[in-house]
C-alpha cells in the first residue's frame, strides 16, 4: 500500500558499483525498496543488498558522494561498494527504509551543526575545568601515597648540595643547636612521620625559605634575622615541614605529568603544539594549585605548632613582619607564589580562635637576638 509521501519519492537512482576485486567502475541503477537495495548492472545482472548488511562509508559530510559498502567485515578483505553522487539519495533512502536506515546519515543542516559545535565546545570547556579543578588534584591525592618516601628522600638528598652549597652554609654551633632543638620539638609532635627533617641556614640576602621533598629545609639568613622570637621561626619551619609531610612536591609532579599526558592525547601527533599547550596549561594552573598548597601548609603548620605546644601567635607575628617587607618590595621570591598575606593572617587568627592551647616556652635559655645573627 502506498502512502502519499511514497508516491512522490524518487526510488530509482544512478550510481557506480565496485566489486572489490578490480578497479572497474560499473554503471548501476539502484532501486530503493523498504527492506533493501536492488542493483541493476549494465550487463543485465541483478543483486540484492538487504539494509542490515549495508554500512555507510562516506556521505556524512558536505562535498562527499554517498558510499555504501557491503561485506568485507574484516579489515583485510575489501567490501563491495556503491557510490552515488547525488546527496539527495540519502534522504530518499531514509524515508523509504524507515527504522533500519537511521544509521544512514547525510550532512547536518547548518543549524544543527552550530548546535553540535556549541555543545561540544561548552562540554569541552566544562570537562577541562572539571579535570583541572577536581580531577587532577584528586588523582595526585590518590597516587602520592603510592610513591615510596625513600624516593623522595633520595631526591631531596640529591638536590640538597645545589640548594645549599657547602660554602654558603651557616655552620655556627650555637645557631645550629638552637635550630635543631626547634626542629626536634616540632618533629616530636608528629612521631609517626617517615621523614627525618634537616634544616640548613644559608647565608643569602634573598628573603626566602623552602623545603625539598624528603625532609630537607633551607632557611635564608635574611629571613632568620627578621624573626623576633624563636616562635616566629618555628612558624616558618612548621609551614615548610608541612610541605614535606603533605608531599606537595610529589603531588605537583604527578599533576604535571598527568596534565602532559592528557594534552598529548588531545593534540595527538602534533608535538609542537602539544608542548606549547602543556606550557600554557602549567602556567595557568600553577597559580591555582600553589594557592591551595600554601593554604594547606599554613593551616597544617599552625596545627603542628599547637600540637607541639608552641605559641602560634609567633607565626601570626611573622606574617605581619612579612607584610611590612611586601610593602617595601623586598620579598618577591617568597611572595610571588604565595596567597595574599592579609588573607593568611586572617585565616590563622580564625584557627587560633577555634582551639586555645596553653603553650610551653620555647628555647627559654637562648638569647634569640644574639643567636639569630650568628652564622660562622
Amino acid at each position: 500500500m502506498l502512502t502519499p509521501s511514497q508516491t512522490t519519492l524518487r526510488t530509482s537512482w544512478p550510481g557506480h558499483y565496485f566489486d572489490g576485486r578490480t578497479t572497474t567502475r560499473h554503471q548501476v541503477t539502484i532501486t530503493l525498496e523498504p527492506s533493501g537495495l536492488e542493483l541493476h548492472l549494465a550487463d543485465g545482472s541483478r543483486s540484492w543488498w538487504p539494509y542490515h548488511e549495508v554500512t555507510q562509508a562516506q556521505g556524512a559530510y558536505g562535498n562527499e558522494p554517498v558510499r555504501l559498502e557491503r561485506g568485507g567485515p574484516r579489515a583485510e578483505t575489501a567490501p563491495e561498494a556503491l557510490v552515488v553522487d547525488d546527496p539527495a539519495f540519502l534522504l530518499a533512502l531514509q524515508k523509504i527504509a524507515r527504522e533500519e536506515a537511521r544509521r544512514f546519515a547525510g550532512p547536518l543542516d547548518r543549524r544543527s551543526r552550530l548546535q553540535v559545535i556549541l555543545l561540544a565546545t561548552l562540554g569541552s570547556i566544562a570537562a577541562i575545568t572539571a579535570i583541572i579543578v577536581w580531577g587532577i588534584p584528586a588523582l595526585a591525592e590518590l597516587a602520592a601515597p603510592l610513591v615510596p618516601t625513600s624516593w623522595e628522600t633520595a631526591f631531596g638528598d640529591a638536590i640538597a648540595p645545589q640548594l645549599a652549597p657547602a660554602e654558603g652554609r651557616c655552620t655556627n654551633g650555637r645557631l645550629r643547636e638552637s635550630v635543631d632543638k626547634l626542629v626536634m620539638r616540632l618533629a616530636a609532635a608528629r612521631p609517626a612521620s617517615p621523614y627525618r627533617f634537616h634544616v640548613t641556614v644559608v647565608d643569602s640576602p634573598v628573603f626566602n625559605a623552602y623545603a625539598a621533598p624528603g625532609g630537607q629545609i633551607v632557611i635564608h639568613r635574611t629571613l632568620l634575622k627578621s624573626t623576633k622570637t624563636p616562635e616566629e621561626l618555628a612558624g616558618v619551619l612548621a609551614h615548610e615541614m608541612q610541605h614535606i609531610l603533605q608531599r606537595h612536591a610529589t603531588k605537583a609532579l604527578i599533576r604535571d605529568l598527568s596534565m602532559a599526558a592528557i594534552v598529548a592525547a588531545v593534540f595527538g601527533d602534533v608535538s609542537g603544539i602539544g608542548a606549547f599547550a602543556v606550557q600554557g596549561a602549567r602556567t595557568l594552573t600553577t597559580l591555582h594549585y600553589n594557592r591551595q598548597t600554601e593554604e594547606e601548609a599554613d593551616r597544617e603548620g599552625f596545627r603542628l605548632l599547637q600540637a607541639a605546644r608552641i605559641d602560634p601567635a609567633g607565626m601570626v607575628r611573622f606574617f605581619e613582619t612579612l607584610k611590612k617587607h611586601t610593602g617595601e618590595g623586598a620579598v618577591p621570591g617568597y611572595l610571588s607564589t604565595h596567597p595574599e598575606t592579609d588573607e593568611r593572617i586572617a585565616a590563622m587568627k580564625a584557627l587560633a580562635a577555634e582551639l586555645a592551647v596553653q603553650p610551653d616556652p620555647l628555647l627559654p635559655d637562648v638569647k634569640w637576638d644574639e643567636v639569630k645573627n650568628l652564622c660562622r
Binding site: 572489490g20 572497474t24 562516506q58 558536505g62 579489515a75 583485510e76 569541552s124 592525547a265
Partner: protein
C-alpha cells in the same frame, strides 16, 4: 579506440588530454582535495570532548574519524579514497608499541642495578641506543604497511611489501656514511630510503616505480648547507620544494609518471599562513591548517600518461598497527614530503 581501454571509466572532468606537436596525446589524471576547515573543525571539537571525557582513550577512534574524513575528501581521477582502519586495532597497536618501547627503557634503566661494575652503565646505554636505532626503521616500515593496507581507491587496497631487515641495513648504512661524510651523503641516503619505500608500494597488484638518484641532489644540498646561516635557514624551503619535485617527477605508476608543481614561494606561503593561523588561534585553527596543507599537496601533483586499470586486481595484505603507533610514540611521519 585505444583511449577507451586505457583510461577505462575515468571521468572526463578530472582527466584531460595534453598534446604537444609531434607526439601522441596522453591523459592527465588529477588529484584534488574537497574537504573544508569547518567540517574538519566539527570532527576536531567533538573528538576533543570525547578524548577529554575518556582521559585520552578515545584518541584512537578520533584519529580514525579524522582520517576517514581526510581520505574521503581526497580524490584521484574522479573517485575518492577510503580509510578502513579501526580505533580498536590502533588502541591495541599502541599498547604493543608502548610495551616494546617501555620494555627497552625499563631494561636499560634496570641493568645498571644488577651490579656495581661501571661498564654495565656503558653497555646499557649502548643497548638503549642500538634498540632505539632498530625501532625507528621498524616504525617507518610498520606505519607504511598499516596505512597503505587500510587505504583504498575504487575498492582496491594499497599495500606495502618492503621487509624490515633490508630496510634496517639500508638505514644503518646510510646513517653511518652520512656521519662519516659530515652530512654530505645525506641526500643519497634519503633518496635510497625513498626508493625503498616507493618501490615496495603497490596499488592492488601494480607496483610504483622510482628512478631518482641521490647524486642529482648533491650540489643543491651542499649549496643549501653553505647558505643556511646567511639566509637564516629559509634556504631549506627552497631545498624541500626541489626535493619534493625531484622525488615525484621520478616516481611512476604503470606507464604514467607523477609530476609535482610545488615551488619554494608557494610552500613558504603555506607554512607561514598555517603557522600564523595556529599561533593566533591558540591551536583552534588546526583543522583549517590541515585542510590548507592537504589541498596544497594534492593540487600540486598530477599523474601523466596512460594507466591500464583493467589489469589491476585486489591483493589483500594483513598488517598490524604496531609500527604505526610506534611511529607516533617517536613523533615522526613515515613519508614526509
Amino acid at each position: 579506440m585505444k583511449m577507451g581501454t586505457i583510461t577505462d571509466g575515468i571521468t572526463k572532468n578530472s582527466s584531460e588530454l595534453e598534446s604537444s606537436p609531434g607526439t601522441a596525446p596522453f591523459p592527465i589524471h588529477r588529484l584534488a582535495f574537497h574537504g573544508s576547515g569547518e567540517d574538519l573543525f566539527d570532527i576536531f571539537i567533538i573528538n576533543l570532548l570525547k578524548t577529554i571525557v575518556t582521559f585520552g582513550i578515545y584518541s584512537f577512534w578520533a584519529k580514525v574519524r579524522t582520517r576517514q574524513y581526510l581520505w574521503s575528501q581526497s580524490e584521484f581521477a574522479g573517485d575518492r579514497f577510503g580509510f578502513h582502519g579501526t580505533g580498536r586495532e590502533l588502541f591495541i597497536g599502541w599498547f604493543k608499541a608502548a610495551v616494546l618501547f617501555g620494555g627497552l627503557v625499563a631494561l636499560t634503566n634496570l641493568l645498571p642495578f644488577l651490579s656495581d661494575e661501571p661498564w654495565l652503565d656503558v653497555v646499557s646505554q649502548l643497548i638503549f641506543l642500538g634498540g632505539f636505532m632498530a625501532l625507528i626503521p621498524l616504525a617507518i616500515i610498520g606505519s607504511m604497511r598499516y596505512r597503505l593496507s587500510r587505504t583504498s581507491w575504487r575498492g582496491i587496497r594499497f599495500t606495502f611489501r618492503g621487509r624490515y631487515q633490508p630496510f634496517l641495513r639500508l638505514w644503518v648504512r646510510g646513517l653511518f656514511l652520512t656521519g662519516l661524510s659530515l652530512g654530505l651523503y645525506y641526500p643519497v641516503y634519503r633518496t635510497n630510503t625513498r626508493r625503498f619505500l616507493v618501490e615496495h608500494t603497490f596499488f592492488g597488484s601494480a607496483p610504483f616505480r622510482f628512478n631518482g638518484n641521490g647524486g642529482d641532489l648533491l650540489v643543491r644540498f651542499a649549496l643549501t648547507l653553505l647558505l643556511t646561516i646567511p639566509t637564516l635557514g629559509l634556504i631549506w624551503v627552497w631545498y624541500a620544494a626541489h626535493q619534493r619535485r625531484y622525488y615525484w617527477d621520478h616516481t611512476s605508476f604503470a606507464a604514467a609518471r607523477f609530476h609535482s608543481t610545488v615551488t619554494a614561494g608557494s610552500l613558504l606561503g603555506l607554512y607561514a599562513v598555517n603557522l600564523a593561523l595556529i599561533v593566533i588561534s591558540l591551536g583552534l585553527a588546526l583543522p583549517w591548517a590541515t585542510v590548507r596543507t592537504k589541498r596544497y599537496d594534492l593540487e600540486h601533483l598530477v599523474l601523466r600518461g596512460p594507466v591500464d586499470l583493467n589489469h589491476i586486481t585486489q591483493q589483500a595484505q594483513t598488517a598490524t598497527p604496531v609500527g604505526e603507533e610506534l611511529a607516533d610514540l617517536f613523533n615522526m611521519d613515515a613519508l614526509p614530503g
